[in-house]
Amino acid sequence: MTLFGDALAWITDGAHWGGAGGIDHRILQHLLVTFAAVALAALLALPLGLLIGHTGRGRLVVVALAGAVRAVPTLGLLTLLGLALGIGIEAPLLALVALAFPSLLAGAYAGIEAADRGAVDAARALGMSEWQLLTRVEVPLGADVIVGGIRAATLQVVATATLAAYISDTGLGRYLFAGLKSRDYVQMLAGALLVAALALLLDLTMAALQRASRPTTRKVPA
């Protein structure tokens, strides 16, 4: 158990803060990679998910595709992309985008599908256009599920972003690999604790966001 104490001491040691390899710098890098990956994936996945949810078309194909993407080991994708693109952040970023994609997509179409059909039909009867239906009824009603998808994707990406350090000088994964390979378990554990804390913090934030986006009129599922 002293190892945990040592790891905490390592984290609080002022010498490990500031500068290029400092904890603060690594946390910032880690967050940037995470947000960039989720944002890029969202650009693709959310519109596609909304479209599928709204039209109900292509669901089976896309669900199967997302399932297949989910089964792709990120490490494999990372090494293949790395060999193609060289070192640096590009390959890990793309691999993380692929990781975030299925959760975002599932959240988006499930959110739309979860919208109360009665409300949708009523809105259609009122003469809303398809676009109005989507933006004024379906998205607001399904917002918490959609945000739930973003939350799941963010959690996966922030945890897996440690792999970025496999081929680039980026993020908290650096402490893990450096520690692992030089038997410096204190450093490794310190890195692990930092990533876990960061993930937890992000998840709590996203959970609050998810609660806030829950439609007030909707019956809250038990």
Partner: protein, 217 residues
């Protein structure tokens, strides 16, 4: 393809190791998650704590988990057990919430009817609650199956052999066919286990007829 032919035994060996690591992890996850889900369903207040802890565990990244578990349990880092425990923790964390939902999805009237028919508490669990919870439970099990199979590969980073070795070895030797083989074999294994689950789901819930399983609302 020539690479696969020349290395068939190696690929099959690593596939077998992969199965040996992923299947026990999945099964342990299901057993523990059902137990936790049941607890959470029966005692909602304790349930909040249990499910909260579970989702907290899920936020611990896999690679650090692989490193922390040996420290906590005193087992060697490179032991297959380390990976199985890590993946089981993950699977449980992901599945426990779904398991609680699954028990909640059981129609209260059915349960009351069964109680009226004189089912014992154990009988109620084994013959009413659990079978009726299967459809929702199964959707969660399918998710953790796919993610577990995919996650086993990172064991290669700490020296636990699996299809992940094809990824790291192919990377070092610049044999892309080897990496692609590793990726494809992992995906095929995930798809195969998923298919097995769907089939099992049909087998244990025959009253559902041919309704497609795995879709929850």
């Amino acid at each position: 393809m020539t690479w696969v032919q020349a290395n068939r035994d190696y690929v099959l060996d690593m596939l077998l190791q992969h199965v040996r690591l992923s299947v026990p992890a999945i099964l342990i996850s299901v057993l523990v998650a059902v137990l936790l889900g049941r607890i959470a369903w029966r005692w909602p207040r304790a349930g909040t704590v249990v499910l909260g802890t579970a989702s907290l565990l899920y936020s611990v990244p896999a690679l650090p988990l692989l490193i922390v578990i040996p420290v906590l349990l005193g087992i060697p880092l490179r032991s297959g057990l380390t990976l199985v425990v890590a993946l089981a923790v993950y699977g449980t964390a992901l599945l426990a919430g779904t398991a609680a939902d699954a028990f909640r999805s059981v129609d209260e009237r059915v349960r009351e009817a069964a109680e009226a028919m004189g089912y014992s508490r154990a009988g109620l669990f084994w013959r009413v609650d659990l079978p009726l919870a299967v459809p929702v439970l199964l959707s969660g099990v399918r998710v953790i199956t796919v993610s577990t199979v995919s996650l086993v590969t990172i064991g290669a980073l700490v020296g636990i052999p699996s299809l992940g070795n094809l990824l790291t070895d192919g990377f070092q030797r610049d044999i892309r066919a080897e990496i692609v083989t590793g990726v494809v074999a992992t995906m095929l294994l995930a798809v195969a286990l998923d298919g097995l689950l769907v089939a099992t789901g049909r087998l244990v819930t025959p009253w559902r007829g041919n309704v497609a399983t795995g879709v929850t609302t």
